[in-house]
Symmetry: D3
Subunit: 156 residues, 6 copies
C-alpha cells in the first residue's frame, strides 16, 4: 500500500488524473454540531423570526465547496455541476448533510466534506456568543458514486 500523493523525492504532488475517464460523480457527506438545548432553541427560533443561522450556513457551505481546491492542497480544481446542503434539528444539535456533483476525472468527496465542515464552522461562529463549547462531530463521507472505485455507502 502506498499513498498516491507522493512523488519520487518523497514529497507531495497533485496526482495527474488526465488519463482517467470523465464520468458523472456524486458524493454525500454528513456531520453534526453538538449544542446545548438553549442554543438549539436560539437557532430554531431565529430560523423563523430572526437571523437565519442555517441560511447563512447554507451559503457558506456551498461557496466553500467551490473553493475546496484552494484549501486542500492536493485537490484538483473540480468545476462542480451542483451542490446542495440540508439541515436537521436533532435532540443534541444540528445535523448537516451536503451533496456535491460533477462530471469529471476525479471524485468530489472532498467538496462534500468541505461543505459540511464550513457549514458547521459557520453555525459555530454565529452561536458562539451564546455557547462556546459546541463540538463539530463526525464529519464523514456517507456515499460516493461514479469513477472506478464503485458505489460506496456508509450506514451510520
Amino acid at each position: 500500500a502506498e499513498l498516491t500523493h507522493v512523488n519520487e523525492q518523497g514529497r507531495a504532488r497533485m496526482v495527474d488524473v488526465g488519463a482517467k475517464p470523465v464520468t458523472a460523480r456524486v458524493a454525500r457527506a454528513a456531520g453534526k454540531v453538538l449544542m446545548a438545548p438553549s442554543t438549539l432553541e436560539l437557532v430554531r427560533s431565529g430560523g423563523t423570526r430572526k437571523g437565519d443561522v442555517l441560511a447563512v450556513a447554507q451559503v457558506a457551505g456551498i461557496m466553500a465547496a467551490k473553493r475546496t481546491w484552494e484549501l486542500v492542497p492536493m485537490c484538483h480544481q473540480v468545476p462542480l455541476s451542483g451542490v446542495d446542503l440540508g439541515f436537521a434539528y436533532e435532540a443534541d444539535g444540528i445535523a448537516i448533510e451536503a451533496t456535491a456533483r460533477c462530471k469529471g476525472e476525479t471524485g468530489v468527496e472532498m467538496e462534500a466534506l468541505t461543505a459540511v465542515s464550513v457549514a458547521a464552522l459557520t453555525i459555530y461562529d454565529m452561536c458562539k456568543s451564546h455557547q462556546r463549547d459546541m463540538v463539530i462531530e463526525r464529519v464523514r463521507l456517507m456515499e460516493k458514486d461514479g469513477g472506478r472505485s464503485g458505489h460506496f455507502v456508509r450506514e451510520d
Copy 2:
C-alpha cells in the same frame, strides 16, 4: 438571549467591533481524524521516509487560518500575528491542535477551528485512496484568552 449576528430586518450582519479595545488574543482548538491502524501506519512511515502527509496538513491549516474570513461569512478579517499546528499519533487516529494569535478587537477561535478543520480535511484527502471511512471527530475550542469574556479552558 439573542444571537448577535442579526440586524433589525432579521438578517445576518457582520457585527461592528470598532468600539471594542485592541487586546492580545489567543485561541487553541483541537480535533482528530479517526483512521484504521493500517492508514495510520502509512502516514507515520510516510512522515519519515516518503510523502509527508502532516507537513502538507500543517501548511494547509496555517493557510486556511488566514482565510477564515473568506469562508465563514460573518467573521472579521483578522490579521493573525501567529499560527501553529501540532499533531499527535494516537491509537485510533491523528490528533490535531492549532493555536492562533492576534492583536485585535475580536477573538480568533474561528481561525483556530478552521485551521484544525482544514488540516483534518487535508489528512483525509491524502489518505482517502487507502481508506474512505475515516471520520473527522470532535473539532472543538480548547482554550481562549484575551477580550471581555475572560479565560476559557476546556478539559477534554
Copy 3:
C-alpha cells in the same frame, strides 16, 4: 486637478496612506434591482415560504465587502469592523443599502458600493430564470464620514 492613483511613469499605483491618521470611518451606499411585478412577487413569497433570495444576497454582499481589495485594483486591504445590508421592496424592484465601517487610514466607500453591487448581482442571478431584463440601477454613495474630507450626505 489630478488623479491621485498615478505614478511618475503615468501608471496606476496604490497610493500610500501610511501617513494618514487612523480614524473611525463609515460609508453607506445604495442601489436598486429593477424587476417586473411577477419577479418581485416571487422574491417576496420566497422570502417567507421558500428559498430566501435576500438571505443569500445579504451573505454575498457582506462577503464581497471584505474582498473589495481583491476586486478593485487600487483599493487598500481594509479590515472592516462591521458590515450590514438592508433591503426594501418597492413598486418597481428591490432597493439595497449597505453600510461598511472600519477604523483605519482610508475610507470604506468602495466596500459599501461593492456590497451593494454584489448583492444586486446575486438577486439578478437567483431571479434570472424568471426574468432576464432586470436592471441594476443607480449604485451610488449615500453617506460617508470620518477622515479629512468631512461628512458627505446625498439626498436622493
Copy 4:
C-alpha cells in the same frame, strides 16, 4: 413559476447542471458610470498622457469575470474561454460593455454583468478623490446566446 435555486427545505442550492448539454455560450452586458464633465475630462486626458483609468478598469473587469463564482453564491465555476471589455466616452459619463464566452452547461451572463460592475467600481475608485457623487447606472444584460433559452437581445 418557481425560483430554481431552491431546495426542498426552502433554502438556496447550486442547481445541478450536469445533465445539460455543453454548448458555446456568449453573453454581453453593459452599464455606465455617470460623472461630471470635469471628471470625464480627467479620465480622457489620463488615458493618453497619464494614469490610464480605463486600462486598470479593463484588467479589473476581466479578472472579476473569472471570479464571479467566488462572489455570486449560486453561480457555477465556469471556465471562461474569453472575456473582453470596451469603453465609450459619452456626454454624461463612461459607457462600459463586456462580453464573456465559454463552452459549458450554463450561461455566462453573470460573468459579463460582474465584469461591467467591477469595471464600473474601479472607475469610481480611481476618480472618487475628484468626484464623490458619480453613479453606476443601468447595469444590464444586452445579449445572450447558446443554451436552451435561445438568442436574447436587448435594444436599449
Copy 5:
C-alpha cells in the same frame, strides 16, 4: 507581428480560445534560488531534522499553480490535471523544476512558471531571517507540448 492580447480599442483582453481543440498539454519550467553555503546548509539540515523548507515550498508551488489565473490577468482558468515540483541542491543554491498538465484548449506554461516562482518566493521567505540577499534566478520555460505550436524544449 502582433500581440494577441489586444482588442480593437488597444486594450488587453482575455483571448477567446473556445474554438481551439482540447488536447493533453504539459509544460515544465525551472528556476533557482541562489544562496550562501550556510543558508543552503540550513535548508538541507532542516529537511531531515527540523522544519522542512522544501515541503512548504512544494505545497506553495502546487497551490499557486492552481491560482495562476487569479494572478496573471489574461490567463484562462485552466483546471490542471496534475502538478509536480522537484528540488535539487546545487553548489550555489536550490534548483526548482515544476511540471503542470491539463487537458484543455490552452497551454499550461504560465502554471508551471508560477509554481516555480512561488516555490522560490517561499524558500526566500523561510530563509530570509538568515540571508537577505538571496536571488531568484533564471525562471524559464524548459519544455512544452500539446497544442498547435508543437514540442518546445530548452537545453539550458
Copy 6:
C-alpha cells in the same frame, strides 16, 4: 543559526510577531524579463499605440502584492499602506522595480518580491505568443527599512 519558521515538532509555523513594535516599513525589490529585441519592440510600440503590456503588468503586480499572504504560506496578512511599480526598457529586456509599504510588526520584502515576480509573469504571458524563451532574471531585494534589522541596501 536556526530557521525561525520551525516549531518544536520540526514543522513550519507562522511565527508570532505580536510582541514586535509597529513601525513604518518599506521594501524595494527588482527583477528583469530578458527578451529578444523584436519582443521588446512589440511591448514598446504596444505601450504607446495598442495593448499596454506594462499597464496590465502594473495592475497584476499591485494586486499580487496584496495577496502575498495567500501565496507564501508563512507570510503574515500585512495590510499594505501603498504599492508602486516602475518599469524601464533596457537593451536586453524590461527591468521591473516594486516598492511596498506598511505600518506593522513585520517587513514587506515578500510583498515587493511578489509584485516583481507576478509583474514579470504577466509580461511573459502577454508576449509568449511571440517569444517562448524569455527568462525572468535576478528577482531580488534592493532595499528594506523599518524594523529591528536596520536599513539594508543592495547595490546591484
